[in-house]
């Protein structure tokens, strides 16, 4: 497993823990009310698990297992995948903290733009590796 995939996957594990921790608090709060402000964490719970856990893990595993080239660099243009991990995590933090801290719709929109940038950068890096066999 390449170093970059390890970063993606370990970050996704971090978001899994953060998302499940908030989710557990929200669920427990339904059963035995703890604090009404907890409901403000719902957008972060969703963002951390959908984007931080599932999407990020998927990108990390894709970078690892997609077909490699016969000649170096075996995983092709890796710059896009490096840019993607930075943009994705900046976007996740902006969207989730923006919602929790009440930074407004512009923070959410900016975060989503960063996430779109991450998707485009990763696709640019991975596209040549989506082939029937090693190139």
């Amino acid at each position: 497993m390449p170093r970059l995939s390890q970063w993606y996957i370990k970050l996704s594990f971090g978001y899994l823990l953060a998302g499940f921790t908030v989710g557990a608090l929200l669920l427990a709060n339904k059963g035995r009310p703890l604090h009404p402000a907890l409901w403000g964490l719902l957008p972060a719970h969703i963002e951390w698990l959908l984007m931080g856990w599932v999407a990020q893990l998927t990108l990390g595993v894709a970078f690892w297992i997609l077909p490699r080239f016969w000649q170096a660099p075996r995983r092709g243009r890796t710059t896009g995948a490096v840019v993607a991990i930075v943009l994705l995590n900046a976007g996740i933090l902006l969207v989730s903290l923006g919602a929790v801290l009440g930074l407004g719709a512009w923070a959410t929109a900016a975060g989503r733009l960063l996430e779109i940038g991450a998707a485009a950068a990763f696709a640019h890096a991975a596209w040549p590796r989506i082939v029937g066999r090693a190139g």
């Binding site: 390890q6 996957i9 557990a24 669920l27 427990a28 059963g31 035995r32 698990l49």
Partner: protein
């Protein structure tokens, strides 16, 4: 494919089928006179998909496919893996039952069942990460 992975994947399929069934019930509740508690199944529908199907499938495949820790302990602590499986599915099942029950009759014992469900699912995530973290590494090349 190790037994734990097979259990995770088969249970994931059952969760997906259960989620789709709840989805039909939630849609029918808009047009048919179904019992009132059906409308409270909406969170269960989402969590059967995201926890029971997606997350569980990921847990199972990671346990199977990630680089081994060592020849002696290829997949880490298998007991911790089984605890993850039991806590994740036990917690999710408790949620599916207790959430509508607590909504219909709040303030009763069902609230504590939800607390137990939350704790169980949180522990499942912690146990999974503890077991999977050492396997996020380069390919095993011997000690």
């Amino acid at each position: 494919m190790p037994p734990l992975t097979r259990w995770h994947i088969k249970t994931a399929f059952i969760s997906l089928a259960a989620a789709m069934t709840l989805g039909v019930a939630l849609a029918l509740a808009l047009v048919l006179p179904l019992p009132g508690w059906v409308v409270y199944l909406s969170p269960a529908f989402f969590h059967l998909i995201m926890v029971g199907w997606v997350t569980q499938m990921i847990f199972g495949v990671i346990f199977w496919m990630f680089p081994i820790v060592s020849r002696a302990r290829p997949r880490g602590n298998e007991r911790l893996g089984w605890a993850t499986y039991g806590l994740l599915n036990g917690g999710l099942l408790l949620r599916v039952v207790a959430e509508p029950a607590n909504s219909v009759s709040p303030g009763g014992g069902w609230g504590w069942v939800l607390v137990a469900s939350a704790l169980m699912q949180w522990l499942a995530a912690v146990f999974f990460v503890v077991n999977a973290w050492p396997r996020v590494k380069e390919k095993y090349r011997g000690e």
